[in-house]
C-alpha cells in the first residue's frame, strides 16, 4: 500500500517487443522497469524450459534463441533495468493526456497475498502481445482439442506433446512451427490443414512471395518448416479445415472437409480421420485491455493505433509488437526498438525503422492471406458451444439475440451470459461478435474492454491501494 513508484520508462510485457523496448530505452540512457507476468522473459515466442531443466540443445526448438539469451541476460544483469518477474498488471487508472497509473501484483499466478505495487511512468510501453483465436466447431470443447499455441507452450515449456497422433489445423503460418515442435516432442503429426485456399494465399502474399522480400530470415525459417513437413511426411493441405471433433470423454476422431474460397465446407468432401489431439488456431487477437483502459484509440480491426514513433493517442504511451497488428517476432522487435528509443527521447535506430517497414509489409500480407472468412459460421451448428466458460451455444446466442432484438453487446452478454465467465470474452469474444453481427451491433469491440486485466483475490484488491481520505 505504498506510494506509486515514479519510473522514467515502464515496459509491460517481457516478450520480444518488450525486451527490445527495454533494451532500446536503456541504450537511450533511461532507467527502465520491465514487468513480466511469467517467471522468465521471452513471452510466448520464446517460451522455454524452466531453470530447473537445462538442455544442451534447447536452441533446436526456437528461432533467434541465442539473440534472446543474450538480450535476456543483459537485461537481467543491467542495474538500470529492473525486471519484475511474476508481475501481474491488474488494472491501470486512466489519466488525461498522460500515461496511466499502473497497478501490479507481484507473486505467483492466481496467488493470494501477492505484493501490490503501483507505478507512475513518465513513458509507458505496452507490449502485451496477443493470444490465439480459435474458431468454434462442433466438438471443439472436447478434451484433447487445444489451441495451436497450447501445443507450443507444452512442447517448449514442458517437453510434453499434446497427443501422440495430432492434427494441426486453422490458418496462418504459425501452424508450421507448431508441427515442427510437435515432431520434436515425440508426436506424430497427421496433417497440417490451412483454411485459406490457394487463391486467398496467392493474392494475400502477393505476386512477390515474401522469400523475395528483404525478409531473408523469414525465408530461411520457412524453408526449415517445409523441410520438416517433407522429412516427417506430414501432409499439408490448403482450403481444408477440421469441421467437427468426435469422441465421448476426449477427441477420438475429427471430420475434415475442403473449403470454398469463403471458407464454407464443400458438401461431400468430408473425411474422418482418427486422431487423439487437435491443435486449432486461426490467427491472433492482440491483448489490448490495458491499452483500452489507458484511453488509447484503436483501429477498426481492433489493433492499437500508433504513429511512426509507436506513439499511441495517449501522450507518453507507446505500443509495440502484436498490439499494433499481428506481425510476428521480427516486426515486434523492430517496433520495440523504435518504441523504447522514443520513450527515452532518442531517435530510433535507422535499422529498426527499416526493419519495421519490411516486416510491416510482411504483416499486411499475412493479414490478407490468412484473414478469417465468414463461411466458418456454416460449420457451426446450433449446439456448438461458443462461450466455453459459460457453455453458451451458437443456437442460444442467435435465439436470444432474435428474442430481444438488442443491438448492444452489453445487453447481449447479460442476456446470453456469453463472455461473462472468467476469461471475460478472450476466447469467444470475436466469434460471438461475428455470430451476432447480423444484429448490427452498436458497441462492437466491447468484448475487448476489461477494466480488470486479470482476476485477483478480493483480499489483494483491498490491500492494493491507498484508500484516500476522500473516501467515506
Amino acid at each position: 500500500m505504498a506510494e506509486p513508484h515514479q519510473v522514467p520508462v515502464l515496459v509491460i510485457g517481457g516478450g520480444p517487443a518488450g525486451m527490445a523496448a527495454a533494451r532500446a530505452a536503456r541504450r537511450g540512457g533511461r532507467r527502465v522497469v520491465l514487468v513480466e507476468a511469467s517467471d522468465d522473459l521471452g513471452g510466448q515466442y520464446w517460451r522455454h524450459l524452466p531453470a530447473e531443466r537445462p538442455a544442451a540443445r534447447e536452441d533446436l526448438l526456437h528461432h533467434g534463441w541465442h539473440w534472446f539469451r543474450r538480450m535476456r541476460d543483459d537485461l537481467l544483469r543491467d542495474p538500470g533495468c529492473d525486471v519484475v518477474l511474476g508481475g501481474h498488471v491488474w488494472s491501470v487508472d486512466r489519466r488525461d493526456g498522460r500515461p496511466p497509473l499502473v497497478h501490479v501484483l507481484v507473486g505467483a499466478p492466481d496467488g493470494a497475498g501477492r505484493l501490490p505495487r503501483a507505478y507512475e511512468p513518465t513513458a509507458l510501453v505496452l507490449a502485451t502481445g496477443a493470444h490465439e483465436r480459435t474458431l468454434p466447431f462442433p466438438g471443439w470443447d472436447l478434451p484433447g482439442v487445444f489451441t495451436a499455441g497450447a501445443a507450443q507452450a507444452l512442447a517448449k515449456g514442458e517437453r510434453i506433446a499434446v497427443g501422440r497422433r495430432v492434427l494441426v489445423a486453422g490458418s496462418g503460418p504459425f501452424l508450421l512451427p507448431v508441427a515442427s515442435s510437435l515432431v520434436r516432442t515425440g508426436a506424430l503429426v497427421a496433417g497440417v490443414l490451412e483454411a485459406a485456399g490457394p487463391g486467398q494465399l496467392a493474392r494475400g502474399w502477393g505476386s512477390r512471395p515474401w522469400r523475395l522480400l528483404a525478409a531473408q530470415a523469414k525465408a530461411g525459417e520457412l524453408a526449415g518448416y517445409v523441410r520438416d513437413l517433407a522429412a516427417y511426411r506430414i501432409p499439408y493441405r490448403t482450403a481444408a479445415a477440421v469441421v467437427a471433433a468426435h469422441g465421448t470423454d476426449r477427441v477420438e476422431a475429427v471430420t475434415v472437409a475442403r473449403l470454398t474460397p469463403d471458407w464454407r465446407p464443400v458438401p461431400g468432401s468430408e473425411r474422418r480421420i482418427v486422431v487423439d489431439a487437435v491443435c486449432a488456431g486461426h490467427g491472433f487477437v492482440p491483448r489490448t485491455e490495458l491499452a483500452i483502459a489507458a484511453g488509447c484509440a484503436l483501429r477498426a480491426d481492433g489493433s492499437v493505433r500508433v504513429d511512426d514513433g509507436q506513439r499511441s493517442s495517449v501522450p507518453g504511451v507507446l505500443i509495440a509488437g502484436e498490439l499494433t497488428g499481428i506481425g510476428g517476432v521480427d516486426l515486434a522487435v523492430a517496433e520495440g526498438l523504435v518504441a523504447g528509443s522514443v520513450a527515452a527521447g532518442r531517435t530510433p535506430p535507422p535499422a529498426a525503422v527499416r526493419g519495421r517497414a519490411v516486416f510491416r509489409e510482411f504483416a499486411a500480407r499475412l493479414a490478407a492471406a490468412h484473414a478469417i472468412r465468414p463461411g466458418w459460421q456454416s460449420w457451426v451448428d446450433d449446439r456448438t458451444v461458443v462461450c466455453r466458460c459459460e457453455d453458451v451455444t451458437a443456437g442460444e446466442l442467435r435465439s436470444v439475440a432474435a428474442l430481444t432484438g438488442s443491438r448492444g453487446l452489453r445487453s447481449l452478454k447479460l442476456t446470453t451470459r456469453a463472455a461473462l465467465g472468467l476469461c471475460q470474452g478472450r476466447t469467444c469474444g470475436r466469434s460471438m461478435e461475428e455470430i451476432l453481427g447480423p444484429a448490427g451491433l452498436l458497441d462492437a469491440g466491447r468484448t475487448a474492454h476489461r477494466p480488470l486485466a486479470i482476476p485477483l483475490r478480493l483480499g489483494e484488491l483491498a490491500a492494493s491501494t491507498v484508500v484516500g481520505e476522500d473516501v467515506r
Binding site: 483502459a293 484511453g295 428474442l403 472468467l422 452498436l442 466491447r446 482476476p455
Partner: protein
Amino acid sequence: MSAHLRVLVVGAGIVGAAVARVLARAGCDVVVVDRGATAGGTSASGEGNILVSDKGPGPELRLTRQTLAAWGRVREELRDELPAGFPGLEFDRKGGLVVATTPAGADNLLTFARTQRAAGVRAETVDAVRAHELEPDLTRDLTAAVFYPEDAQVQPVIATEALLAAARRHGARVRQRVEVTGPLLAGGRLTGVRSTAGDLPADAVVVAAGPWSAGVAERLGVTLPVRPRRGTVLVTSRMPARVRHKVYDADYVGSVGSGSADLQVSSVVESTAAGTVLIGSSRERRGFDDRIEARVLAALAAKALLLFPFLADVQVMRAYGGFRPYVPDHLPIIGADPRLPGLWHATGHEGAGIGLSLATADLLHDLLLAPDSADPLAAEFRPDRPGLASGQPGRNEQPPDQPRTTPASRDRPAPARERPGPAPEWPGTAPDRPGTAPERPGTAPERPGLEREWPGHRPPEGAA
C-alpha cells in the same frame, strides 16, 4: 384521453421499457427510441435491486410498496407475454439483511428500522445468533442486524429486455440508434421530436433516459435537475453459494440519502443465480467520467471483507460501472411537465430504478390516460414540485453532449465489425485524439416560449 395515443418514449432502459409496455397494453401507439442499444445504460450497470430496506418513510417508500406488488403481478403477466425460450428473469425474493458493525451504526440502524416499521415495512430486528443462522459466513463483529424479507433481486438487463419484448408484443416499436435532436412544436405544445431518424410526431413524449434525461430535456427546451452519480460493481468468479440474501452494511442507507460528491462506499454483497457474487456499492459525483479507478475497487473490496471475511480468497473477475440518475431531493421525477404540454418525465430514480420501474409506469399510465383516478401519491413526484427548488440555482450544469463511452471505443465505427484488413495506417498519420465526441447530427433545438420558469431554470440566450 383516448387510447391510440401516439407516445414516444425516449430511453430503452428499464423505466422506458416498463412505460412502453403499460401504455402499449392500454392500446397506445408506442415507439421507444434510444440513441444506443436497448438496455445499454444504467439498467445494465446495477445489481438488479428491488429494495424496501433502504427506504425511509416517505413518498418513495409508498411507491416502493406499489412496485413490490406490481412485480408479483407483472411476472405472472410476462409468462403469457414472453415468447418461449426467453431467458428467465432470475427474480428472487431473497430478503435483505442490514448489518451494523459499530455502536453508532447500530443506533442509526435500529432507529431507522423503527421508523420504517411504523410506516408498514417488515423490518425484523435479529440478534447475532439469528443473523448467523441467516448468513453463516457473516462477520462476527456485528453490533445490530435487521432483516427485510421483502427485498428482492432480478436480473436487470433480462428484465428490461423482457418488458420491451412484452411491449413489442402489444404493438410497440423499439428503434435503436435513434437520437433526439430537438422538439417538434405547434402552438407552444410538444408534438413530437426531431431525431437522427427524422421527425417523429407524438401526442406525448416521455423522457425516460436516466442520467441522460437532462440532456434530452435540454434538447426539447427545458431543464431537468437530473445528474449522474457514478457507481461501480465488482463481480466474483462462480462459486458454491455462501451468501444467501442481500447483505449490506448499515452505511448503505446513509450513502443513498447523501448529496456529497466525494466517493462514498458502503457494502452490498449478494449472490446471483449464475453463481457469482456481486459487490457494490460506490457513489461519486464526477459527471459522466466513466473511468474505473483502482482506489474505488479497493474500497469496495475492503468494505465487503468487513461483512464476509471469507471473500478474501475469492477471485474478482470483472468490474463495471454506470451512472445513476440523481435528483437533489432524492425522489424520481414522474409526470407531465407543466412548462411544455406534451412532455412527460419518468426518470431520476437514483439506484432504485429497477425496482421502481413498474410502479412508475403504472403511475404514468394513470396520469396520462386516467388522470382523475391517478394516485395522489403522484403529486410527490411531479416535475414542478417545490422540493426541486432546493437544488443548485442556475442551469443544470452538465453539458448535454457528454460522451458516454470510453475514448478508445469512441474512435471506432459503430456498425458491425469489418474483417481484419490489410495495411493499417502508417508513418505520417497523425494519431487520433481520444475523447473527441463524434459530430452530433441535427439542428439546435427551437426554444419554446416558456411562460412559467422552473426554479433554477434560466432562459436560454436569445429566446423568444
